[in-house]
Symmetry: D2
Subunit: 373 residues, 4 copies
């Protein structure tokens, strides 16, 4: 099999890795450097339990991806020697108001029925014991959700794909497609026209613009996420802390904390707004007061692809069936990367995918779906 992947972020790289392992001839084009957009801006949480609080079509994929990661990471490590910051300390999902407490209780009950071994309710005393620096007023849920260094994981997928024979062309921009009658046979790029049997479009938030060249209107939009990094002399947190209202604090190596994230819809602007820095600090100091004394490091932003119904697009083009669109993972792109690579490879190979992928198809009816958070 011969596949051209447009987009060198974590999704494109994960697909490249999986396909290359299966023996395909793979070329990935990326208009800049690898993993330069949302993939490197992400905080790297693998929040299978933290992100979903009701039945949702993504849950089976999220759990499968999470379960696959230990082996995937061992494999990447062995192939590339890149340290991806694998961290299994788990996640603390906090309620900071009475209403959030009620929602979190439901969230907990939901998971207690499905995976009781992977979630635990924590009293304020439990929180104090687990994370003494956290100011807990309403209790919290513990999940096993891990986290990684998103940028390094993305690069590791790409490097491992190369180790398995894939070719990556950086600074190569796709600007049009080549048709042969009813068939798409290639892509025009700034490095020349590239032909391939199969074409995968995995350009994150920029996918919808490219999809228009294929007469496809994707119902998606960019959502800027802004983060800040701080460091402390001694560790403040062991687990990731995820407040119900969207603020999370992720402990990284060297006593570094990543605090995220804003969500500014319809913005491709990669600048960080002053008010976002202010808001993130306000929230973080509410939850972990000692962050006030932390050293401010820097702020950054990434542009994440969101869809109208909150479901990613993972599927073939309705008309040009050798073209696949894979995008819209919004803030679950790191979590879903491992399984997305496998599912897309299965689909390209004509194998049966062990999940119901119809909610992610390009011809779904959006009104059937909605993300509940």
């Amino acid at each position: 099999m011969d596949v051209l992947i447009v987009g060198g972020g974590i999704i494109g790289s994960s697909i490249a890795f999986e396909l290359a392992k299966r023996g395909a001839h793979v070329v990935v084009i990326e208009r800049g450097e690898l993993a330069q957009e949302a993939s490197s801006a992400a905080a790297g949480m693998l929040g299978a339990h933290a992100e979903f609080s009701t039945d949702h079509p993504l849950i089976p994929l999220a759990l499968a991806s999470q379960a696959a990661f230990p082996n995937v990471i061992a494999e990447l490590q062995q192939l590339t020697n890149i340290a991806v910051g694998w961290n299994e300390a788990g996640m603390l999902k906090m309620a900071t108001t009475a209403e959030e407490h009620r929602q979190l209780t439901e969230h907990y009950e939901f998971w207690r029925r499905i995976q009781p071994q992977h979630v635990r309710w924590l009293t304020r005393d439990d929180v104090a014991q687990l994370e003494p620096h956290v100011r807990s007023e309403y209790g919290a849920m513990y999940t096993i959700d891990q986290q990684v260094d998103a940028k390094q994981l993305s690069v590791a997928f790409a490097r491992a794909a190369m180790a398995k024979g894939a070719t990556f062309l950086p600074y190569t921009e796709a600007y049009d497609v080549v048709f042969d009658g009813e068939r798409v046979t290639g892509v025009k790029t700034t490095s020349g026209t590239l032909h391939a049997e199969h074409i995968v479009i995995a350009c994150g938030a920029w996918t919808s613009a490219f999809a228009e060249k294929l007469q496809l209107s994707l119902h998606m939009y960019p959502v800027k996420g802004e983060c800040i990094g701080v460091t402390t002399d001694t560790p403040l947190l062991r687990t990731t802390v995820f407040a119900k209202n969207g603020c999370y604090i992720v402990p990284k190596a060297n006593n570094r904390l990543v605090i995220g994230a804003s969500a500014m819809a319809d913005s491709f602007t990669k600048t960080v707004q002053a008010s976002s820095v202010h808001h993130l600090l306000t929230r973080a100091m509410q939850i972990v007061p000692d962050i006030a004394h932390a050293t401010f490091e820097k702020a950054w932003a990434g542009i994440r692809p969101q869809t109208k119904d909150g479901m990613p697009y993972i599927g073939e083009h309705p008309q040009y069936t050798n073209v696949f669109i894979v995008t819209g993972h919004y803030r679950n792109g790191i979590l879903l990367s491992a399984i997305t690579g496998r599912c897309v490879s299965d689909m390209l190979e004509g194998k049966e995918v062990p999940f119901d992928m119809t909610p992610f198809s390009l011809i779904r009816k959006e009104e059937d779906h909605a993300l509940h958070h």
Copy 2:
């Protein structure tokens, strides 16, 4: 008049400034930050005399642009308060071999006939007096050619345009055009579809990809130029030194020297090759041996738009006459920016342009032209 300019480099910004001054409604879109590509990588020489050694259709524009700069810069300074590093110390064009000496003599003779007051032949003693750190073995020509901080000049054009009412939309990417029958009425961008009476495409090396959406095959290609910066404790040079074989050394503020530039055709890759750093240092130390003791600062690259016949494209689309293409300035983009803004504005207003623009038209026959360096 209502104009949409695609591209926020020095060419797009200069056109925006001139049009806004003339009262047009101007919107400039740029897919990243202003002046982020070739405009900020350039060494900033205004080499009207140094670049051309025989009759060439660009000479009238180059001389007019050079002559316009003192006023333009005063105007920009007044509107924006940005320091653009205007430097009138002139340029030393060196011969480093006997053959180069012969060519440089011809070059000098060419200009002595046209502008004797602006060029001067220098003996080795003259060079030693003017630039004691330069190792001159074959004589040199002095020209009045000035230089600027290219990045700051680009930003000043943009800011001055804004001061005159133009709107700049950063992080806005054009990915398609909107047709209404035989007419182009707008551009699809990641910030939505923008309509305008006139559309100017000034995307530097990326112009040809966009032009294909308008059924236009531009005969152009990217040429990467790599530079390095060094600093010294005491000034080594007063003038710019331009060796015949392409190496130049440009003295900037704070005893900084910019050493450029490689020319790697067909590369959009913005990385700097190790061998280029090596080569630039080798050449610079040959010409100014004391550069060996300078402090190495950094290396960078820019992607310049070159055309097959070495002429820029400045003109209307053969079919969609409200669309203008302005690109291909290669390494004369900074020099030509002032005059390009004026000429394009004249053309858009239907005024007569005081230069012969046919060599730059989009329907020229290329075989008629060729740059001789």
Copy 3:
């Protein structure tokens, strides 16, 4: 005359410049790069009127320094070609509470008696007209106080001193003094022992440690000042805005705003605390609400030398009279740089200084003095 200056910040560089102009043989040693500490972190306000609100021994020097700057800057510009960001738009001193309003009124009355032509009371309407983006609730005072790019000014003093024959030795650290009986004859440095007729210690906040080697206990301490930089698409401010409680917002080139400054006593730690970023943003958004939409750029800190009584130390060592101590300018170092260079040069030359320098002498009684802000 033969002078060794320890410290390559703005004070040491200004003294070096003035002495070199007067024909002295000057060597400046600096343990790192020039202007790397407080001199480059400063916001660059020349707040002669904004900083002082009652009689104060520094006022004559502050006014004289401010008056000297236009010529000094022209001279530096001519010698070095460095753009120092000279800005004469003036300063708005804001009251944001009723109590501050009362204090500011007194402040205004103080200056109205001394320099009525240089201060002006502004009603809320006046403020709205002068600075439409400022939220004024209690009126304000306008002063003529200018501002500069502090780092560039420091470097310009140093480069101009070099142009006049001074030698600067970077990465040269003084760690001890050399005595010959009752006389200090030199300084031991990491570049070897350097001898000189006169020695000037101008190490900012690090001066007191070095002074101990000269049996001198200076009553001084470091005060960290933290700042943040933001940029906007269009200018929000013309003048500097200085709120009574210490927050100031200084408009720089390219629509950049510097927001400062915290004051953390007894800290040499050059990190920026998360709570300081939060606090500065809170204050800045109160005063100029549109800063919320500005782009956050970065945060930084500088360590300023403060004395117990708020007076700088400018004078000879009580015992070793060929040693001069010049430090303790706290947040007026940029403002006072021009006059400090002149006064110290006068003192070294044995000339009469046209100011009363006794309040700054090293043998003053501290209890006689105190800064009132």
Copy 4:
């Protein structure tokens, strides 16, 4: 036991770690950030076999330190979760001239007698097989020498020491010592006077200046080492390549190569000289021609402490016996860090050190020793 360590580089941090493990009360002061000087500039080779070619007093320590590293790194990893880039691929010691070939043969014979299992002679075919990108003309020796990320290892020692109870005070500068009669009781610092039972001076190249406050003339000098980093798309090297004349190329994670190092005696200047970049690239491209196509990343410098006889100083002050001096590791600081921490801890505890430390004592006769490379 109560120990104050002056210097937060790899040596001070390693001593702090070992002492803290043994239950001592440890305070480390560092005038800037941790590991900011030579410790972070080093290429990180653990060249026990590559560095020594004849009998040398450091060999027992070097071998013991190398042997200790696997456990030390596991321990640091477990305590701090910091990835230190441990790499056991070994080292290729190259001869590039006939004369070097002769020397390398002797070098090999030396080690073959001592540790035949850890060195291997390689024919040109062997080299071609092991490292196909290396241009081998005269054969090479393979050693088991590992390498690490020097900066991360230094930080890991410091963080692990903190985890064991040590206190680190950054931005705290020692400028004098406190005597009580014949005894040193403390150190004056910019954070106040700190008292301790034992004082360890481990300031790298800055140690001799501080030692003068203790009436101690150390025969040592700084040696600047400059390095450059390049990256490649595919790995060029598996092992470290160490050419006989001092050029080495160390493969790091993500296809990064560190090329080092110049040796500029008597320089504390942390700038990188243009000629050094040129020279390092020249040498690297000779040895691995494909480096010509690598991407140039950056250049940097570190200041290493060298002694007149090439032996480190590890021992107590001849007069003030509670003061220890530990410095002069030159380019073996990373290699020797593990064992130095242990030996110094033994000495402080009055235990017998399992090595002959007399060659490193502060009262040795220098003429007895000399490093042979």
